[in-house]
């Protein structure tokens, strides 16, 4: 046993069944340039191909915000716990949600969309869903501009909490990444799974506090509600931008759920990764 070990050290690379794990994280670092360039490709192609391009990432959240404001504030007459205008509150929730849903649908189709790469060259496959989530981050940045415009419009000065916003952006990123990893791996195995993904996203919108504040949820349901990881992220966004009170207990709960999703996502992805090239 020991002799084979020392023997193996003379070689730069040993390929054996189940051995890929050893170089995995090192490889991920070695292939970082590929990660940059694939992200760059996705972004470039995305804004080259669509006529509306960047405009689309402004129009969509803006229109949805207007409709949600009318429906939830004017028609349903739901409470707004903070002192910010209702539209601003909706938009502060819309931002992370739109990022999450874009990232999720992009990343869950990413492996299938890059099948030609997967069957022809080696690289840590984790790069593909990761770079597709990055693409959605650009959309997020563009939409963020509207938020700034809206703040000027309403003469609203954000609270000092806004310095913590990057933390919640990262959290939203990890949340989308974790779930996306799982879905994209399932997608390779079961090709009809992609028809379920838009449904998951649509369903998610209804159970996530986008058009309303999570404070309208009764106290005894709060923890159950926080099982939806985006609840924590959106509450965090509103805490940062609007200074709305943050229920730390339920936020922590959401945080734990995100970490669990991430662990499950990565480990399932890693397990399935070996057979991607054979199945795709």
């Amino acid at each position: 046993m020991k002799t084979t070990r020392s023997n193996n050290e003379d070689w730069d690379l040993v390929l054996e069944s189940g051995r890929a794990d050893r170089h995995y994280w090192k490889d991920l670092w070695r292939y970082r340039e590929l990660f940059y360039i694939l992200s760059w490709r996705d972004i470039k192609v995305r804004y080259k191909q669509t006529v509306l391009g960047a405009a689309w990432s402004i129009i969509r959240p803006l229109l949805t915000t207007i409709i949600f404001t009318i429906v939830f504030s004017k028609i349903a007459k739901l409470d707004n716990p903070g002192n910010a205008p209702y539209a601003l509150m909706v938009f502060a929730g819309m931002l992370p949600w739109q990022f999450f849903s874009n990232a999720l649908s992009e990343s869950s189709n990413s492996l299938i969309g890059n099948a030609n790469l997967i069957t022809k060259v080696y690289f840590p496959r984790l790069i593909i869903p990761a770079s597709s989530v990055i693409t959605s981050l650009v959309d997020f940045a563009i939409s963020f501009m509207i938020l700034i415009v809206m703040m000027f419009w309403y003469h609203y000065i954000p609270s000092w909490h806004i310095v913590f916003l990057p933390v919640f952006i990262i959290l939203a990123f990890l949340c989308a990444f974790g779930v996306g990893l799982y879905l994209t791996a399932v997608n390779v195995k079961y090709r009809d799974f992609r028809y379920i993904i838009p449904f998951i996203i649509q369903f998610g919108l209804y159970i996530t506090p986008v058009g309303f504040s999570s404070s309208v949820i009764g106290e005894k349901w709060k923890l159950l509600y926080a099982l939806n990881p985006m609840v924590g992220v959106i509450d965090g966004f509103r805490w940062c931008i609007l200074g709305d009170p943050l229920n730390w207990r339920s936020f922590l709960f959401s945080f734990v759920v995100i970490v669990i999703f991430l662990i499950i996502g990565i480990s399932y992805f890693r397990k399935m990764e070996k057979s991607f090239a054979d199945n795709i």
């Binding site: 070689w11 360039i37 470039k44 997967i118 060259v121 199945n279």
Partner: protein, 415 residues
């Protein structure tokens, strides 16, 4: 010379699912099946799924030394592509190990990851990164790549507007400037025009011979393999048939490819009272082994047995060689009186077609016995199909092009 790749007991199996028409599983089917199982207790142990294990590679052992240029040959389904995929880490082996020294780059397709919307310049960077080059490396070689591909004018045009020739040139140019210790190439030379193929081949020769890199090359084109490689591995049904010097391997491949050793054998039941007829015609090599596949530099021996009961003056045997479109390439004839007759009134003779003359391609024979004034005693058409394989003629690069059926090798002079 030191070992750069060591492969031990390498195997790869795939599970073939005979039930599904699709190569992938649909969740709908899985759910449907599970529910069916729950509700049909009688079929509880139903094994209507016929899964079969298929070994694409089985117990492969070989070693490759630094600077070797190894041709991997074998018929379709022999496991060549699977071997390349495992070596390039696209898929994992089921059993066994591969040990590699140095950086490995694989070129299983020309232009992997090219995006039609992006410009030539952008695609160079993208493709380079996909093949494992760093940004700095690509920058260093950028001008050389553009130069090699001859696309300066179109650098900022999206590649979807490129002609297919330009596309392939650009793609190969990027790959040609990779600097790995080990380069794996799969039949990429099968694309592009002949001139560019020649350029690519030149580049590959340069890379391997002059820069001392190790190249693994898969191709069906024996001519190119023999030009480029010095070693070879012959795969058959997932196992190594033989490995060693390339000439030896190609010779073996050609011999071993002899599935159709169909000679002509006289059928007694169809005999219609001819007194002079052709009994057998068989193709052999110089060692008298029956075969149908020959290399270009090998003599083709036509071995025949004739039955001559009736002596007719000026009786001749004629053999016509025809190409796959049944155009006559050449005809040879000989008087029957030249041959000795045995006591069963049989003539057994052979003729050797010269080596290095008949161009690599598919051929068949027309054999006839006739007398003066073209009175035919017996004629057999389209018999003994055979193939000449290129093993490094001057035309190796032009496989598939019509350069004639006969290769002359004349002397050339300065006037």
């Amino acid at each position: 010379m030191s070992k750069i790749i060591e492969v031990r007991g390498l195997s790869k199996s795939y599970i073939l699912n005979h039930e599904g028409k699709e190569s992938y599983t649909a969740l709908r089917d899985v759910i449907a099946q599970k529910t069916k199982k729950i509700f049909s207790f009688s079929n509880w142990k139903s094994t209507n799924k016929t899964k079969e294990e298929f070994w694409a590679l089985k117990d492969i052992d070989f070693e490759i030394e630094q600077g070797d240029r190894v041709g991997i040959i074998g018929r379709n389904g022999a496991g060549k592509s699977t071997l390349l995929k495992i070596l390039s880490r696209i898929t994992e082996p089921t059993n066994g190990s591969i040990k590699i020294k140095g950086r490995i780059a694989s070129l299983l397709e020309v232009g992997t990851g090219f995006h039609p919307e992006l410009s030539g310049r952008e695609n160079i960077y993208l493709n380079g990164a996909i093949l494992g080059m760093s940004r700095a490396e690509i920058k260093k070689h950028f001008d050389a790549i553009v130069d090699f591909a001859e696309v300066e004018k179109f650098l900022d045009t999206p590649v979807k507007r490129y002609s297919s020739g330009m596309y392939v040139r650009l793609a190969f140019a990027v790959a040609a400037h990779l600097e790995p210790e080990i380069l794996i190439v799969d039949e990429v030379l099968a694309v592009g025009d002949a001139q560019f193929q020649k350029k690519c081949l030149g580049k590959m020769e340069d890379v391997s011979k002059n820069e001392g890199r190790t190249v693994l090359f898969v191709s069906h084109n024996m001519g190119v393999v023999s030009k480029l490689c010095n070693k070879g591995i012959l795969l058959n049904k997932g196992k190594i048939e033989i490995d060693g010097e390339i000439d030896h391997i190609i010779q073996n491949y050609v011999n071993f490819n002899n599935l159709t050793t169909e000679g002509y054998y006289y059928d007694q039941t169809k005999a219609n009272g001819k007194s002079n007829f052709i009994k057998t015609v068989v193709l052999k090599n110089s060692e008298n082994h029956t075969k149908s596949d020959f290399t270009f530099n090998e003599k083709v021996r036509i071995d025949f047995v004739l039955n001559i009961d009736e002596e007719i003056p000026n009786l001749q045997i004629g053999i016509g060689i025809q190409d796959k479109l049944q155009n006559r390439v050449s005809t040879i004839l000989k008087s029957i009186t030249y041959f000795n007759k045995n006591d069963k009134n049989e003539i057994h003779g052979f003729v050797d077609l010269p080596a290095s003359v008949i161009a690599p391609n598919y051929y068949s024979l027309v054999v006839a016995i006739w007398a003066k004034d073209l009175v035919i005693n017996d004629i057999q058409e389209n018999i003994c199909p055979f193939r000449i394989h290129d093993n490094g003629s001057d035309f190796a690069l032009y496989e598939g092009y019509d350069y004639g059926s006969v290769i002359l090798n004349p002397n050339w002079y300065n006037a």
